[in-house]
C-alpha cells in the first residue's frame, strides 16, 4: 500500500449509478421492465453512451439484440433522452455519463 497504488486507483472511473428506462415498446426486449437502476462498475475509460450500450447488450438485453442495437449505436427509430433532453444536444454516443443520470430509450417503431 503506497502512494503509487492510490494514484493508480484515481485513474480509474468511479462506479456510476444511473437509471436506464425503456419506453414505446422497447421494454418488451427487457422482460417488460421499464425502469432499471443500474450500477456501472468502475473501469479505465470513462463511461459514455457507447460503452453503456455495450454494457446493456451484455447485461440487460434479454433477446433480439438486433431490434435494439445496430452497429455501435441504437437502431434508427429509437430515441435517446439523457435527463429529459435530446441526446443530439449532448454529443450522442460521446456523451460522458455522470452519476445519477437518467437515460431513456423510446422506440418509435411500429409495434415497438
Amino acid at each position: 500500500m503506497g502512494v503509487s497504488c492510490e494514484l493508480g486507483f484515481l485513474n480509474m472511473a468511479a462506479p456510476l449509478s444511473v437509471e436506464v428506462e425503456f419506453g414505446g415498446g422497447a421494454e418488451l426486449l427487457f422482460d417488460g421492465v421499464k425502469k432499471h437502476q443500474v450500477t456501472l462498475p468502475g473501469q479505465e475509460e470513462p463511461w459514455d453512451i457507447r460503452n453503456l450500450l455495450v454494457w446493456i447488450k451484455k447485461n440487460l438485453l434479454k433477446e433480439r439484440p438486433e431490434l435494439f442495437i445496430q452497429g455501435d449505436s441504437v437502431r434508427p427509430g429509437i430515441l435517446v433522452l439523457i435527463n429529459d433532453a435530446d441526446w443530439e444536444l449532448l454529443g450522442e454516443l460521446d456523451y460522458q455519463l455522470q452519476d445519477q443520470d437518467s437515460i431513456l430509450f423510446i422506440s418509435t417503431l411500429h409495434g415497438g
Binding site: G25, E66, L81, G91
Partner: protein
Amino acid sequence: MCEVGEDYRASAPEEPPLTRPGREQKCVKCKEGPPVVVIRAGDAFCRDCFKVFYVHKFRAMLGKNRLIFPGEKVLLAWSGGPSSSSMVWQVLEGLSRDSAKRLRFVPGVIYVDEGAACGRSPEDRARTLVEVEQVLQNVGFPSHVIALEEVFGLPPSVLRCFAREPESVGTEGAYKAAVDSFLQQQCVLGAGGEEPWSQPRPQGPQSLAGPPTAVQTEALSRLFDSVKTLTAKEELLQTLRTHLILHVARTHGYSKVMAGDSCTRLAVKLMTSLALGRGAFLAWDTGFSDERHGDVVVVRPMREHTLKEVAFYNRLFAVPSVFTPAVDTKAPEKASIHRLMEAFLLRLQAQFPSTVSTVYRTSEKLVKAPREGCAASPPGPRCLLCLCTLDVDSADSATAFGAQTSSHLSQMQAPGPQAEAGTPTTLCCCPGLGGAQGCCAREDPRACVVEQLCYGCRVNARDLPSLDSLPPYILAEAQLRSQRAGGEQEIQAYLLGDHDDEVLPGGS
C-alpha cells in the same frame, strides 16, 4: 445535390457534415431557455417554445383545412400508441381553452382491442383493457371500447358509400357562416360554459356489446393464422379496423373520424402503398382528408408531427398512452413490406434528416383527380374491401395483368355454357361482360369476390387461401353486388340503347 465527381469530394469538410447543436446553445426561438429537443435538422427548442410550436401545428392543421364544423361530432380513433394519444390530449386541451380560441366540435373516443389478431392471451388483453379504461376515465369523453371480434357482427351496408348531406360540403362561405352562427348561439345560451359533450354523458366507457364470445375470438384467430404473409395480415387488420370504426361512427352519428397518423408513419405508408400496388389511392391513404366512405370523413390532424416530436412531447408533458403489442411486434426487419419500408426510411433519415419531410411534402402535392373523361359520369364501382374507386378495367384483356387475372380465374371455372358466349376470357358475373346471373354462387365464390377488389387488395387476397374465414358481411356484400350487376346486365339486354350492332328502323 447528387453530384458525382471531384467537386463533391473536394468540398467535403473535415468537421462533421451536420452542425450539431450543443447544450451551450440557446433555444432558436426565444434565445433564452436551455434547449431540450432538436427539431428538423438543427433547430434546438426549449421546453416552452417546443410546446407552443407543437400545439400551434395541431391547431393550424385543423384551422387551415376548415373541414370540421362547429358542433360536429368527431370520433377520435385511439390506438393507445403515442401519436393518437397525443392527438386525444391535444383535443382535450383544445376544448378547454378560453372561448375565443377553443376547439368547437363534440368529441368521442374509440379504442379497438385487436388482441385476438395478435395472438394475445385473454389475461393480457384484460390487463390492457384496465389500463385503457383508466386513461379514458381521465379523459372524460364518451368512449367506445370495441373488440375486433365484432367485425363478425357487421352488416353488409358498412361497405357501401353514402352521400353526404349537401350542407356539410365545405366552401369558404359555408364554413365561415357555420362558425358565425355557432358563436351567436353560444352567446344566446349564455355564459353557462358547459361542454357540449357533458350533457347526457353516459358513465364511463360504453361498449357495443359485452366481451367477445370464445367462438368469435376463435374465428378471428383462425382468420389471421390462415394469412400467409405478415404484409397481408397487416393490411387485413387495417381493413377490418377501418370498417369497424366506420360502423361505430355511423351508428352513433359521428360525421368525422380523426386518425392519429404522424408524419413519419404517413411517409412510411406512402412508400409501402406504392410497393403494394395502391399507388392510385395515395391521395386518399395519406392526405389530410379521406372521403371515400361518403358520409364519414377521416381526417389526419397529426400528419405534420414527426414521431420524434410526438415522443418528446408525450414525455415532457406526461401524456398517458398504453402500449399494445401489434401483429408485427418483435418481427425481424424483412418480415413484411411495412417493416422493410420503415427500416429503409428511418435509416435514410438518420443520415439525411430531411428524408421524411421530403416524402411527406410529396404526399401533400397529390391531387384527387378523377380519371379523364369520367368527370361527368357517375363514379365507377368501388373496391369491396378498401372502398376506393376500382382502378382495374373489368374488360381488360389486352394487358398482362388482365390476361393473368382472367386465366387464373378461368382455370377455376368449369367450362360450361358461358364459355360459348364469346371470347375465351369471358368471366362470369363480371360487370360489363355477359354472364348468367347467380352463376358465381354455384361456380366460384372466390372469383366473385376477387374481381370486385382493386389491384392492391387482389394482391393481398392471394395470401388468403380461403375466403370463407372472412367475416360474413364481406362475402354477403360481394354476392349482393354481383347479383345486382348480373341483374343490370339482363335488364340492359332488353333496353333499346345505343348499341352499335342494332339496326333501328328510322334511325336513332
